[in-house]
């Protein structure tokens, strides 16, 4: 039996204030007074969460910061032999208990893939693992979707709670918060809130049921691996689908499942850091080799790899898991409105290759 509390609409702040006194709390907010979009920020008392629409950028950076230091180093004189230089090397892996409050099922679904990639072996990424273990997701049952959303097409849905710890069901006068797993119980306790009434519990259950049955997006994109292999060498196909692409990194940076990163060294004086930073497979430099050779020299190879990675390679590697959560951000934010659904659907042989 799951434990639940009710937070009235005007009672959100006290709850978040209590939580944020104990741990890091991230909430979606509007990007600015005259902005249409939103993003996740660290909650401080007074922050106004915006839970009614999807944020422009996903909560990805909470577990995979856009840039982080993997290690720091310093060149120092060897105390025993002044002519020699030694390296002092330090790597600090730390993570604070964190709650992500008000993410959507699609936002969280990205982390299911991250878990496989970063902690599923053969090597463990401790930086990620530690943060992941300390992070709790309080996830909204999603009631707002638009023409770019397609979570149901990738095997998820607007009420999918996989990977989440608490479920937030928006009711007319507030939110019902339920702990989905045992690790969420202390968080729920910390939140306080009210004992939910029977009516509230019923209303929430109805909404959850109704939402689970919703079909967000048409078609099924979960079995496209073979079609992709069939189209791999069909350059005409890739030309017809993505000639518009301008090779920017928007789609990858706003994507909850894109995790590819770069590692670079930065120095000042005799000290420096090794940084891990988001990279984008849409950039020319991503695969450029020192010899000048580039296995993906044009946007067509690069876009093809993006599709392949999400819909063919990842499913093949991770037992059918799709590298796409259907949030639609890449479609919505694309400067030239490329529709990834169409590119995947049309992979099927005999499908019309015109965009």
């Amino acid at each position: 039996m799951s434990r639940a509390i009710f937070i009235p609409r005007d009672g959100l702040h006290p709850v978040l204030d209590r939580l944020s006194a104990e741990m890091d709390v991230w909430v979606p907010v509007a990007s600015g007074p005259q902005k249409c979009g939103g993003e996740f920020v660290r909650y401080v008392p007074g922050t106004v969460p915006v839970l009614e629409r999807q944020s422009t950028t996903p909560p990805k950076r909470i577990l995979l910061p856009q840039v982080e230091s993997l290690l720091s180093y310093a060149y120092v004189k060897d105390p025993e032999d002044a002519s020699r230089v030694k390296i002092n090397l330090q790597a600090e892996i730390a993570a604070k208990p964190t709650v992500v409050f008000g993410a959507r099922p699609c936002d969280v679904r990205g982390f299911l893939l991250f878990d496989r990639v970063f902690t599923g072996g053969p090597f463990q990424d401790e930086y990620y693992r530690k943060r992941r273990e300390n992070t709790f997701f309080a996830t909204l049952v999603c009631r707002q979707w638009d023409a770019a959303c397609f979570c149901s097409s990738v095997g998820s849905g607007p009420a999918d709670m996989e990977g989440s710890d608490l479920r937030l069901t928006p009711l007319e006068d507030g939110f019902l918060v339920e702990a989905i797993n045992r690790r969420a119980h202390p968080i729920l306790k910390l939140m306080g809130g009210e004992q939910p009434t029977k009516t509230q519990l019923e209303a929430a259950e109805n909404l959850q049921k109704e939402t689970t049955e919703e079909q967000v997006g048409t078609g099924d994109l979960t079995h496209s691996g073979d079609d992709f292999r069939g189209r791999f060498e069909d350059l005409e196909y890739w030309r017809s689908m993505v000639s518009q692409c301008i090779s920017c990194g928007v789609c990858t940076f706003v994507c909850p499942t894109c995790y590819c990163f770069s590692i670079t060294d930065e120095m000042q004086g005799l000290e420096g850091e090794r940084l891990r930073s988001w990279d984008s497979c849409m950039f020319y430099q991503y695969t450029l080799e020192a010899s000048g050779h580039n296995p993906r020299p044009s946007k067509f190879e690069r876009y093809r790899n993006r599709i392949g990675h999400k819909f063919s390679f990842i499913p093949a590697k991770y037992a059918g898991m799709i590298g796409c959560c259907g949030c639609g951000r890449c479609i919505r934010s694309c400067p030239v409105s490329i529709d990834i659904r169409k590119v995947v659907e049309n992979l099927k042989e005999n499908a019309c290759a015109c965009s």
Partner: protein
């Protein structure tokens, strides 16, 4: 080949189309939702297969886009002879993001233009909005709605909505603020930058593309860090490399996923080149951009 606009993933979104034969012509559309400047495709290695020798390429341009063409021709990045330009006098394009956000609409079935109004039909009913309300900022300050260069003009020329003296009112409004306020403004705006480089890649005049100094390790102007100075410097690089070249098509601002008013930075530079060097970019194919030349007897400097 002809580059134009076609219907995108929903009735509000338009996507560039590359027409290769007569059978493709039906895909071509024109309305205030045709927001992209297509001229970048001519110079940024997108044309595959390459054009056959001696064949022209057709391109649809609005007034602002035509100025990009002029700038590219000035810098010998394009030859006028290789182009067949379909010029379209433009009353302004919409800020689709704002339209979606402020109207609160989703599940849109159709969008039609009726005179000065936009009619959006969703599942429930038809909503009517004055076009004016959702025009993009770049269009509200437009001085060149009519293409300045073309082979065919598709509609009748129209009267510009903005007088030259009003062109930089957004810049002036910013300058009415104190130095510290301006710094706070840009700090909070640029802090949202995720360095996706959409502004650079959408810019028809940012022609270095894969060789941009923002990404090279040698010289290393920028690191991968995402702190404020790096973001400031990136936008300085972008803007300063466009000084005296930018034609204010506003693409950088339109494509920014984080809604940073990056065109405003370039507007200021253009105001400076206008006042100081008496030059407006993208009007005369024969002119030389002012920072590519000099005057030994400079007045006013």
């Amino acid at each position: 080949m002809v580059i134009g606009w076609g219907t995108g993933y929903d009735p509000l979104h338009v996507t560039p189309v590359f027409l290769r034969g007569l059978e493709d012509v039906s895909r071509l559309i024109w309305n205030p939702l045709c927001v992209q400047n297509l001229t970048g495709y001519l110079v940024k290695g997108a044309l595959t297969p390459p054009l056959e020798e001696g064949k022209k390429i057709g391109i649809c341009v609005r007034g602002c886009d035509s100025r990009s063409l002029v700038a590219l021709i000035q810098e010998k990045l394009l030859s006028r002879e290789s182009l067949h330009i379909f010029g379209i006098p433009c009353r302004g394009t919409l800020d689709v993001r704002r339209l979606m956000n402020e109207s609160g609409l989703s599940q849109i079935r159709s969008v039609t233009i009726q005179g000065d109004h936009l009619v959006v039909q969703n599942d429930e009913e038809a909503h009517r909005f004055p076009l004016e309300r959702f025009l993009a900022r770049r269009c509200l300050r437009c001085r060149h709605p009519n293409p300045v260069i073309y082979d065919e003009l598709v509609y009748q020329p129209i009267t510009p909505r903005t007088a030259p003296e009003d062109a930089y009112r957004d810049v002036e409004a910013m300058e009415a603020r104190s130095l510290q306020e301006r710094h706070l403004f840009w700090s909070s705006e640029l802090d949202r930058c995720i360095r996706c480089y959409a502004c650079r890649n959408a810019c028809p005049l940012c022609i270095c593309q894969d060789r941009c100094i923002a990404e090279t390790r040698e010289p290393r102007w920028l690191t991968q860090r995402v702190n404020l100075p790096e973001k400031f410097l990136y936008h300085f690089i972008h803007a300063l490399h466009l000084a005296g070249r930018c034609t204010e098509c506003g693409e950088c601002e339109r494509v920014c996923p984080m809604e940073i008013p990056v065109t405003l930075i370039k507007e200021k530079l253009n105001q400076i080149t206008r006042d100081l060097l008496h030059y407006e970019a993208g009007l005369d194919p024969e002119a030389l951009p002012p920072l590519l030349t000099y005057n030994p007897n400079e007045a006013g400097i």
